[in-house]
Point group: C2
Chain length 588, copies 2
């Protein structure tokens, strides 16, 4: 293999074009094999192989610095920068993360996993280089999909005013995760259709030098253009046309499916999929489709991540004009939802917990200050074994401290559907629902609660001495802990399902003082700034002891969930131990 000889980018320099072509084939084959085994980003990496080879051929990393936007297309880069074993050796498949990671290599400048940040980060690198009076190229590689994010525009607008070297490679494969959405994409199409020659040019309006490469999967053509822009002193855009999934027929033809795949998707691609069990995602889409037929103002919104919420192609087609993909534009999505609600429509915005982080000010100013009764569904929330860039444990501190928002934590199917239905049909409160991130539990009993009466917690079991408040995903842990306590301590604890993340049930909490000594809180997210601390503060001046359980304030990086739980004592046995100690203290 040619790849055998490549241990660092310098090793590329002497390869012939033919050898580089062969190298690309080898890399592609390794990517397909590994990603099918481990899961991960397939299409983006297959599309960018030649670009990566050409970048490392022409530029001199790490003196020249490459910033990968969202960095899910960095697999070929890792293969060329000393980490090929993560692809050639199945026993090392899990050693390297799927994103750039400075702790792995000097060729990775930043840890990146959210979109649209690369240009701004690169502008910072470039300005620092200039202040230090150094030389070197600063390159940001950004996909067409990421360009719709506001931060990318802010970055481009600023990059264009640098009087020095910065090279923005726009990797245009005419796809976001799903189809692109936004006016900008008509311009990219015009530029592709005219091979970059159209007068009307988004990048030129901002002031960039502009180059177009039609054959973005030709190492040769890319090298030609990169050589031209290397060491120039003007902000430059190189617009390259690539094929997402290039080299894998299934991925080329099913770009959305193969953007990011679960393990063995390719192996199972031609098999009939198993009937899907009921889960929180499919009961949501079923509810939406049903209600949308009855109410033509109901509209489902995704910020370019339809897969997160099960907004499949079929769902989108059925919803017709009652579905909107805003493109990667979470801020707009929240303000848009506020506008819709203010004008009497029924918006349901579905966002992954990690990406709701991009909208604090819009939640606060556009939505909650205006009391717009939109519904936000927050998916995949909770402690996670994910990469540090995609943690989903910060949404409670982020959202629950914003005035006016009603943030709900359902614990079973019936409760969730009741909350969702209430939220969509009411017109008083901006509402968010933390869609349970656990296996679906069904009670079989319709939930008739009126959620307009805010902050009423549900007592699931009346007990004494000890009360356990189990929020959302962690209500099952509350039950398990109660059982354990009853068994070990012969005390039957009270179990509470708070349902409302954003407020305290003062009446109930006060009542607990009468016959309880210890209150436990359990939340599936970081403790810092979250739910439990508010309970601790409430009881601060009383005799009630409070023990808060949840995650630590830290960026965990692919830490197994079992380890996180253990470190945080999120386990019925450990909690029972703690309670024994607390009770001893309380009884002193």
């Amino acid at each position: 293999m040619i790849l055998d000889k490549i241990n660092k980018p310098e090793d590329l320099k002497t390869l012939s074009i033919e050898e580089m072509k062969k190298l690309a084939d080898e890399m592609r084959e390794l990517i397909i094999k590994k990603v099918n085994e481990t899961g991960g980003h397939m299409g983006p990496n297959l599309g960018i192989v030649e670009t990566t080879i050409a970048m490392h051929k022409v530029f001199n990393s790490p003196i020249d610095k490459i910033v990968f936007d969202v960095s899910h297309q960095c697999y070929p880069h890792k293969m060329l920068t000393g980490r090929k074993e993560g692809f050639t050796n199945p026993s090392k498949y899990y050693v390297y993360t799927g994103y750039t990671a400075p702790e792995e290599s000097e060729h990775d400048i930043f840890k990146i996993g959210h979109t649209s940040t690369s240009v701004s980060l690169a502008v910072g690198l470039a300005k620092a280089r200039d202040l230090k009076q150094e030389k070197g190229n600063i390159i940001a590689l950004i996909g067409d999909g990421s360009l719709s994010g506001g931060e990318a525009f802010e970055g481009l607008d600023n990059a264009a005013t640098l009087n020095s070297n910065i090279i923005i490679i726009v990797n245009d494969n005419d796809m976001s995760i799903a189809e692109n959405a936004g006016g900008l994409y008509k311009n990219l199409k015009l530029l592709r259709d005219t091979k970059g020659k159209a007068e009307l040019n988004f990048f030129k309006t901002l002031g960039f030098e502009y180059y177009y490469v039609e054959e973005g999967n030709s190492t040769e053509k890319l090298i030609e253009t990169f050589e031209k822009v290397k060491d120039t002193n003007k902000p430059t855009v190189v617009h390259i046309r690539t094929l997402k999934g290039c080299g894998l027929k299934e991925a080329e033809e099913n770009k959305e499916t193969f953007h990011w795949i679960m393990p063995h998707t390719l192996d199972n691609f031609y098999k009939t999929p198993a009937e899907e069990k009921e889960n929180y995602t499919n009961i949501t889409t079923k509810y939406i489709l049903n209600e949308a037929k009855k109410d033509s103002t109901l509209v489902a919104i995704t910020p370019a991540t339809p897969g997160v919420s099960g907004f499949t192609k079929k769902f989108r087609e059925e919803m017709k004009n009652q579905f909107v993909d805003t493109g990667i534009a979470e801020e707009h999505a929240v303000a848009f939802a506020s506008g819709l609600a203010k004008n009497g429509a029924k918006p349901i915005l579905a966002v992954m917990s990690s990406f709701i982080q991009r909208t604090y000010d819009q939640l606060s100013q556009d939505l909650c200050l205006n009391n717009s009764p939109a519904t936000i569904l927050v998916y995949w929330s909770g402690l996670t074994n994910a990469d540090a860039t995609h943690l989903t444990c910060f949404d409670i501190p982020l959202m629950s401290n914003i005035p006016n928002l009603v943030y709900l934590a359902p614990t079973n199917k019936e409760e969730y559907l009741a909350m969702l239905d209430w939220s969509v049909k009411q017109n008083k409160f901006p509402t968010a629902i933390r869609v349970p991130n656990i296996e679906l539990i069904s009670t079989g009993i319709k939930d008739e609660t009126d959620y307009s009466i805010l902050n009423k917690y549900k007592v699931e079991q009346e007990g004494k001495e000890i009360a356990i408040i189990g929020l959302g995903n962690f209500l099952p842990l509350a039950h398990k802990t109660a059982e354990k306590i009853e068994k070990i301590l012969n005390i039957k604890p009270t179990i509470i399902n708070p349902r409302f993340i954003t407020g305290l049930d003062i009446e109930l909490l006060n009542k607990l003082k009468n016959n309880h000594k210890v209150v436990i809180t359990l939340e599936d997210g970081i403790l810092s700034g979250g739910f439990g601390e508010k309970i601790a503060s409430f009881y601060g001046s009383s005799d009630i002891k409070v023990l808060n359980y949840g995650g630590k304030k830290e960026f965990t990086d692919r830490v197994p969930l079992e380890k996180i739980y253990k470190d945080c004592r999120l386990d019925e046995n450990l909690i029972t131990e703690d309670i024994q100690n607390a009770l001893n203290l309380a009884l002193k």
Copy 2:
């Protein structure tokens, strides 16, 4: 006065062009008189008088809906929509807020005070109109300065794909608060220079129909164009050239000074300003100027709000290439700072507390996940009597729950300068400093603390029974409360200056258990998700009682600070009362 006859927009419909000109003069005179008296936004409102008259002449509010971006230019709109007394009658000068406010009038659709949101909100209104199969024009009025904000771009990108009516009026006065920054502004200049005829057109790249009005302070010309675009079914941009401060010589010639003024700025404009006393702003700029000379990689950054941090024209000129105005682009500013720090420069980003809200994900992902040692100065933080759109009490919950960030709360000049100097010169931690928002206090003693040793609180007074932790701005209240307690209860409390917002001094907090029964926390911001709750959680399982003092989770709207303090019992007498009660309980 013509204005006497105008009580609602309809009353404009019958006016002649001559009468509208006279009306504009009257309105301008009233704005100048009132704003000079009360303070407020002078330049933006003087520039937009004719546009507002023309909008209300042509469109039919509230069936047609106008969304004012940032809405600080809504004074003429208020005068024409039933609220003219707020300008004609000095006793009513303070009745109406300086921003759009739905509770005041059906002609105000949203409460708005942060920039760059109008287009997204308008897209929501327009989509709801379409789903309801209604008619009517949706208009967003946005200034050129606001276009640099990412949310505005996301909105435009989405607006352009609506197959129906939406009219974006771009009010181009060639100014943000200070000069515009960004590549886009070259294109706006090109469009102005060519009277809208240049081929290269930012708005057209996104797909908008485009109209240009050279005489944007001519009611007649504006009406002509607005008539053309009214009731059309295509996303349309009307680019109008206006004069910021139009009609007031001082404001036309000093656009930055007269963007927003303090009361009587106009009266005092030609007087020699009094020598400025030392304050936290001017000691900061002095520090920066001094250090910038010694270190050419130190760079001061503002996201288009240089006035917030005293980055005056003189300061900017002295800093030369070591000053960057990113334009209104807070997200970029944080990522940019991260890039600078990562490449060895020393960025100091100055942001108003209310606007740091726009950067949560950038603080988390771009900055803190990457441990980039940038310095962020957060100005004007604390509880405030400000408009609901400009509250500055949410920064602690927003920032302090982000991993890796070191957020510092200095309490006097020497401490602040020591923290600032440490932060700029260290290279381990992303750091933010909550610049004190109180009168400068100087101890006269240099602070030699090594802030690299994180989370070490300072004991200001050793006492017993009661410990008072006074964070930042509220350390003086801690001292006052301690005095009161000593006087009333004959107990000398411990006083603690935590200095670190982002961590607990576990050792000290544990030590307090030995001889204290009650711990008080005082913070100048909302309690929810903030500092005090963490102390309450820490002591949750102990016998220590904790009382948290701070603001409530609410959007206050021009509530006098005294009233906020009283409602939150932020007063040494009220706290002393509470402590007596808590002690009685603790001694039970």
